[in-house]
């Protein structure tokens, strides 16, 4: 009988709508990070580094990039005879076919996958955080506590605690109370959305809640287990952990990598982060280039000035172009004399010669004011920006835009051009 002590289920089906046009064509876990990686590389690398070699990746929203990125899991050593990585999309059944309607529902629909491995424990992960964590240590804690459910938590500043779901614990780390975005938090331990369940407990809970619409871990399964009196403990984690669910936190997390010795250090030999890199050549820095505080990916050609930026693999920055405080993803071209300031430009985009991005006064975005904030210019993948246009702050663009899309050659601050037939 196949037997794995613990397997991981990685929830990667969400759109991540707060990343705006960045996730119009890809699921959030497939968004690139740090000049080389994609967000899902972090939990996947954590899995294999923790000795968890069986991972089910639940996909639903725009899965193509995720599927091709993960493949059979070779970069993470997850191509295994038994176990390894499996992509688990929703599927048709004789009756009651449905999409994944909630996080727990997605797991419920894949009970058969989990049962194949006869696990003692199941690790539930999300695909939207940047961190390095040893899940095996968490499992040891789970076992030592004789818990039915362990939640990974981390201390956050008290004044921010009301933005999170916080857990209140006793001196033995046993959870006594949950508070979801409380106005007056009783604790500063925020839940990280990482759970270890004793499989028999989770299975019972999933079956009992199978008819709950949009069945969710936080809203249904955890309260159910609590009501049944299952022992729940909080595993305190004290390392770097960054949510990259919003454009501003995504931008910030990237920028933090540039620090001389970043808090989140990718250059350590221990606990490597693996990814599927298809670009091998070195980067070329030309005679005319100026580079100040940057991280630059493989195969890039830089002929312009680049400051405080994260440049992905295969990017071309032509002569006279200036890129500041920006994230430029894989395969994008910034043409001659373009000026890019505080922008996030997704993959395979072309910014025309002499464009100016991020100019003018800051104004709230009219289309989605809560998404496009902090003065960022956000451009979705495969976009084209015609030569010579000026683009203001808090703007969003996706699609092959033409000069006609920019009245008088300007996209004012707070405006958007969504041309790719989607509602990002």
């Amino acid at each position: 009988m196949i037997k794995k002590e613990m397997i991981a289920m990685l929830l990667a089906g969400g759109q991540g709508s707060r990343l705006g046009v960045l996730t119009s064509k890809v699921a959030k876990p497939a968004v690139t990070f740090g000049g080389k990686y994609r967000i899902i590389d972090f939990p996947l690398s954590n899995c294999i580094n923790s000795g968890v070699d069986t991972v089910g990746v639940l996909t639903q929203y725009q899965p193509l990039r995720l599927n091709t990125h993960i493949g059979i899991g070779i970069p993470w050593d997850l191509d295994r005879n038994i176990g390894g990585v499996s992509i688990l999309p929703p599927y048709e059944k004789p009756v009651d076919t449905e999409w994944y309607t909630g996080t727990a529902n997605a797991i419920y629909q894949n009970l058969n996958y989990i049962e194949m491995f006869h696990p003692e424990y199941v690790l539930i992960l999300g695909g939207d955080h940047i961190y390095k964590m040893d899940y095996e240590v968490m499992l040891d804690f789970h076992k030592a506590s004789q818990a039915a459910v362990s939640l990974a938590v981390m201390p956050v500043p008290w004044e921010e605690a009301s933005r999170f779901g916080v857990v209140v614990t006793d001196e033995t780390s046993r959870i006594t109370e949950f508070q979801e975005k409380p106005e007056e938090p009783k604790s500063n331990l925020a839940s990280m959305g990482i759970y270890i369940f004793t499989w028999s407990v989770l299975k019972e809970a999933l079956l009992a809640n199978k008819d709950v619409p949009e069945c969710d871990f936080g809203k249904h399964i955890i309260p159910y287990c609590r009501a049944k009196g299952q022992k729940m403990v909080a595993y305190e984690y004290n390392g770097y952990w960054k949510d990259v669910g919003t454009l501003s936190s995504y931008w910030e997390a990237n920028m933090e990598l540039i620090d001389i010795i970043p808090e989140f250090n990718l250059y350590e030999e221990f606990w490597k982060i693996y990814t599927s890199g298809d670009i091998i050549p070195p980067q070329y820095i030309s005679e005319d280039a100026q580079i100040h505080r940057c991280i630059i990916g493989d195969g890039t050609e830089i002929c312009g000035r680049v400051e405080n930026s994260i440049i992905g693999a295969g990017v071309v920055i032509q002569k006279g172009a200036v890129v500041k405080d920006s994230i430029i993803m894989k395969g994008t071209v910034i043409e001659e004399n373009a000026v890019v300031e505080k922008a996030i430009i997704a993959e395979n985009t072309r910014v025309g010669a002499g464009c100016v991005l991020g100019c003018g006064e800051e104004k709230p975005n009219r289309y989605k004011p809560e998404v496009y904030t902090d003065g960022l210019v956000t451009i979705g993948e495969d976009s084209v920006i015609p030569a010579g246009v000026r683009i203001g702050k808090n703007t969003a663009i996706i699609g092959k835009t033409e000069a006609a899309d920019y009245p008088e050659g300007i996209l004012e601050s707070g405006e958007s051009i969504i041309k790719d037939g989607d509602e990002a």
Binding site: G35, K36, I260, P282, Y284, I285, I295
Partner: protein, 372 residues
């Protein structure tokens, strides 16, 4: 594909000086992210050759490490694969590879068991892109017994280290001189051959009986008029890296846009082993001009007209000019390096100076490294 591949990667050359101490030439790092043998291996896979034998002998640790998995070049299939053959003691044989022909002859069983009618033989020290399928077509069209891929002598290289080929307008080889004292013409053999598998087996068996072990001296040269030998002119970029000067020059060639475009951006790609390194990082103080920088590098100083291989650390206030820094070198603060090749895994102490006025200096520094 109707051919199997053989890559001769056992060689060493005194002309590589200290660089050959720790590795076979085929394992020499090239152009920042590659090793020399990647070019032949990628050409094989891009030509559709699925079965490749690599013959190694001299200090093959680096090379074996590089070839530890065949997946990077898309070998390791059910039909075919990548085979690394080192000399072994058998009932009939107790010697090392005594030459290129002997190296193949000692692995004749491999050739006998293949079913492909042709063999492509290449060396591991060439930097080039070539579709061997085109050479094979030429070989068949000319009804040749042996086809030798030829190239004009690269500018500035020394003809006396090559086999010099003369051919008639049809491409038939009329003369083949190995490493002549004085050259007649500038068409040289690239060490890439196409030959029918059965003919190769026959020629090697004959050579073994006569205790002759070199593929060029004992097979090509003696048979140059007895067999139908044709030259295939390769007019694209080709360099052989097995002297210090040629090695340095080949790396520096990659600073030229046309060469980079040809190798890095034009299809088909050159493949190499992936090492899971983070992207390169430029800290305050970094000033990089006209240089190649590979993944895992951290730069705090000035780098000009140089090639930095993977995982190089350049300290504060350093100046590196016209140099090649191989993999995993740590360069301490206030160091000045000009016209040097710094051997891999070296540690250069702070405040050092390595300035070569004429020619290229090879720097091998094995200092204690205290930094992680």
């Amino acid at each position: 594909m109707r051919a199997v591949g053989i890559i001769l990667a056992g060689g060493n050359s005194e002309k590589m000086q200290e660089l050959s101490y720790k590795r076979a030439i085929a394992a020499m790092p090239v152009a920042g992210s590659y090793r020399s043998i990647d070019f032949a291996l990628s050409n094989m896979t891009n030509s559709g050759i699925q079965k490749v034998a690599v013959l190694t002998q001299y200090n093959s640790r680096s090379l074996n490490e590089h070839l530890s998995s065949s997946k990077w070049w898309d070998f390791g299939r059910k039909q075919g694969g990548l085979y690394v053959f080192t000399p072994t003691i058998t009932v009939e044989n107790d010697s090392w590879y005594r030459g290129t022909a002997d190296a193949i002859a000692q692995n004749l069983d491999f050739l006998r068991q293949c079913h492909e009618p042709y063999v492509v033989i290449a060396s591991g020290d060439g930097v080039y892109k070539l579709d061997y399928g085109r050479v094979l077509e030429y070989h068949i069209e000319k009804k040749a017994d042996i086809t030798v891929v030829c190239s004009n002598l690269p500018q500035g290289d020394n003809i006396t280290r090559f086999g010099v080929v003369r051919m008639n307008p049809d491409g038939k080889i009329t003369d083949f001189e190995e490493k002549p004292d004085s050259a007649h013409g500038d068409m040289v053999s690239t060490g890439i051959y196409v030959i029918r598998r059965r003919l190769l087996i026959e020629l090697l068996e004959k050579a073994q009986q006569q205790n002759r072990f070199d593929f060029v001296k004992d097979i090509l040269v003696p048979y140059r008029t007895l067999k139908r030998m044709y030259g295939y002119r390769m007019d694209t970029y080709w360099r052989n890296i097995s002297t210090v000067d040629a090695y340095y020059q080949t790396n520096m060639d990659f600073l030229k846009p046309a060469i980079r475009d040809y190798f890095f951006r034009q299809y088909p790609n050159v493949y190499s082993r992936i090492e899971d390194l983070p992207p390169a990082k430029y800290n305050p103080g970094a000033a990089v001009k006209n240089s190649l920088v590979s993944s895992g590098c951290i730069i705090n100083g000035t780098v000009e007209n140089s090639v930095l291989f993977k995982k190089v650390y350049v300290g504060n206030d350093c100046t590196i000019k016209n140099s090649i820094i191989l993999n995993d070198v740590y360069i301490g603060d206030h160091t000045h390096i000009e016209n040097c090749i710094v051997e891999s895994r070296g540690t250069i102490q702070a405040d050092s100076s390595y300035i070569e006025k004429e020619g290229i200096r090879i720097v091998v520094e094995k200092n204690e490294r205290y930094i992680l």
